[in-house]
Amino acid sequence: MPAAIHCQGLCCSFPTGDAPALNNVTFSLPAGSVTLVIGPSGAGKSTLLHALAGLLADSVHSRRQGEINIAGHDPRRLPAARRAALVGLVQQSPDTQICTTTVESEVAFGLENLAIESSEIDRRIDEALRLVGLQELRHRQVAQLSGGQRQRLVLAAVLAMRTEVLLLDEPLSQLDPGAAAQFLAAIDNLPDGGPTIVVAEHRTAAWTERADQLLVLDEGRLAANLPRGDFAAWDAEIKRLRSSESPDGPLNTVLGAPLVEVERLTFTFDRRRPAVLRDVNFRAQASERIALLGANGSGKSTLLAILAGLHEPESGAIHFLGAAPVGLVRQNPDTLLFCRTVHEELAFAPRHAGCSRDEIAERVRDAAERFELKRLLDRSPLLLSQGERLRVAVAATFTMRAPLLLLDEPTTGQDPRHEAQLMSTLTDAVAAGGPPQTLIFSTHDLQVARHFADRVIVLDGGRIIADDVPKFAIEAFEACLREMASRERAS
């Protein structure tokens, strides 16, 4: 049975924050409704969802005031198993919320905690995996699943618990369009009388047709609470803002000298398995901004890693026609930062390149200004927010002044404003003649590819299937996604 949610004067604050994460938030959501929560990074969306899940007081030192009432209970005061049976939470990154190693045991984990009998667990695993379309993968290792399949697995694990409320915290942010569509199809497949759904998401377009209510958070306050009829206008406003940031189509038609040429590149991690990249050919020129598009597992990250010299190609060649080095920013900023302060991070590359003190200081100042890091220079990068850590990681690579800069899904988990800011800074630098002279980035977000790339390369199963201006390449990618979806339906 779905449950209604009532929230009255909710305030939350953390010892490390200057301002409260949530400030006097009051709303009511009817049972069985779908509510979309939007707002910029740091607006309090995740905090609100964690508070509704009753997990704030248990997970971190926080102060919470106000009332939350779900089906007559404050989830914070319930025992763990009872609370988990009432409210289910699906978070942004599947990798941080998978508790076990196989598909079957992952779905069973929550049910075991509810002390449900084995025969019933078996039945519910079947049912939940069928709902999300993973029934064929029941005995697979989690490590063998793609990102999209993992996120659907987490959803299945929560659905199997038959919670009355389902909280989704940016569930689509790390998924390619095809995987996102599959996740949404799983939500659409929920039977009537399914849970009350609250979803926080930057990719609003996917949810506006499904949502009954819109909550807009800004700096911890509830800026708007709109019923279905009103927020179509809000969505149009978001779309207009995003599309006004830059025009469609190629941004730059004047190209410089060739910088890197990839010739018949083939690569495999394990010779017993199919190649990750097959016969890849392309050339990148100075002043080009190239987006790599492709479904999860299509070989985008591997191609970038090979270009950066992290793997040696099995066959084929990469010719660097300009000067090395190459800068690479990988998806998880936590594995890119290793210095004590942000200043040290920014100074690291020029110091190792043998730059003079003045040159180092100039590069640090320039990067801090471009990426809005001036006030964070003395802080430890490990204690910053995820968005800030990503900006530090990009800035620290930027100070290498590498002619070729590679970014692996740089906008994952960023709100539209920060996303636009980060990408504009980099693409503007390329447009101004560099460094970097050439930017190659992988992304799942078609809008980002459309707005910030001159050229889009589409990968499918390790092969390039399109290499064109954004408009035509994205059309090819969408056709490829449709084909993949029909193949999956057929299988």
């Binding site: 763990a80 076990t100 084995s118 078996d122 390149a353 290498m400």
Partner: protein, 275 residues
């Protein structure tokens, strides 16, 4: 070599995966008891071979298998040579002399000798370590953490302790993966690795140690995220929980357990009789 990648390529045979984890734990305990009980180098070598047998049912990338064998041989060689040189028990006939005894400025130096007893003692100690390493590895590489946890709980190990142990086991490949990613980021930004030329200078020890701090921070962050996820799914170590699929021993597994327990009892009886 990328260890996290190599670990992902380890493939145990399905029958070994299916063996009841309680039997596997009993097997490790039996090998450990054997290590205590046997003193002769030949018997300990035979025990190490027996401990290694299940590993033949696990497919390794050849470089990982070679590295594994190298580590085992390194442990044996280093312990044998150090004990052979520096063994100070009373009965120690030298096998050969490296520096003969001499007197210089009125002081007598006993020389440097390689002692048979020391070498034998070192071989015994290192084989004990290797046998346990091999037996433990075969269980860790062929058992999912969940089944291991279920077995530990059934063996009356407290639930929180069992979960902590299995979560730690599961985090090893993740930590290796993060370590590799941090090293790559360091090498790229420090210019130790250059695209297109594959220039590579090995990282110095101090540079490696520098990565410990972010690695620890990331481990804590991941542990905190896992704790959050586990709580969100209703895990409470103080509350009873079921296990799926339930552990059911097959007849042959019961017989094997009985044989192993029989071996324990025999060893204990003989030890007591000798006293």
């Amino acid at each position: 070599m990328n260890w996290s990648h190599a670990l992902r390529q380890v493939e145990p045979r399905p029958w070994l995966v299916q063996v009841d984890p309680r039997l596997k734990l009993l097997w490790v305990a039996t090998i450990s008891i054997g290590c205590i009980w046997f003193d002769s180098v030949a018997m300990l070598a035979a025990l190490s071979f027996v401990a290694a047998c299940p590993l033949f049912a696990i497919r390794f990338p050849w470089r990982a298998a070679a590295a594994y064998a190298f580590i085992a041989l390194l442990v044996i060689w280093s312990t044998v040579s150090s004990q052979g040189l520096f063994y100070y028990d009373t009965t120690r006939p030298p096998l050969f002399t490296i520096v003969p005894a001499f007197t210089w400025l009125g002081r007598h130096y006993a020389g440097l000798h390689f002692y048979t007893e020391g070498a034998r003692y070192g071989a015994g100690q290192s084989l004990r370590f290797v046998a346990n390493l091999l037996a433990g590895s075969s269980v860790a590489l062929s058992t999912s953490p969940e089944r291991l946890m279920a077995a530990l709980v059934r063996l009356r190990i407290p639930s929180p302790l069992s979960y902590m142990g299995t979560a730690a086991l599961r985090s090893i490949p993740l930590a290796l993966e993060e370590w590799a990613a941090l090293r790559q980021a360091y090498q790229l930004r420090a210019g130790l690795r250059r695209a297109g030329r594959f220039q590579f200078r090995r990282m110095r020890l101090l540079e490696e140690l520098r990565l410990l701090e972010p690695l620890l921070a990331n481990t804590l962050r991941r542990a905190s995220a896992l704790a959050f996820a586990v709580q969100a799914r209703g895990f409470d170590p103080q509350q009873p929980r079921t296990h799926f699929p339930p552990l059911l021993m097959q007849a042959w597994e019961k017989v094997a357990c009985a044989i192993l327990v029989g071996l324990w009892i025999t060893a204990l009886t003989i030890s007591l009789a000798k006293r």
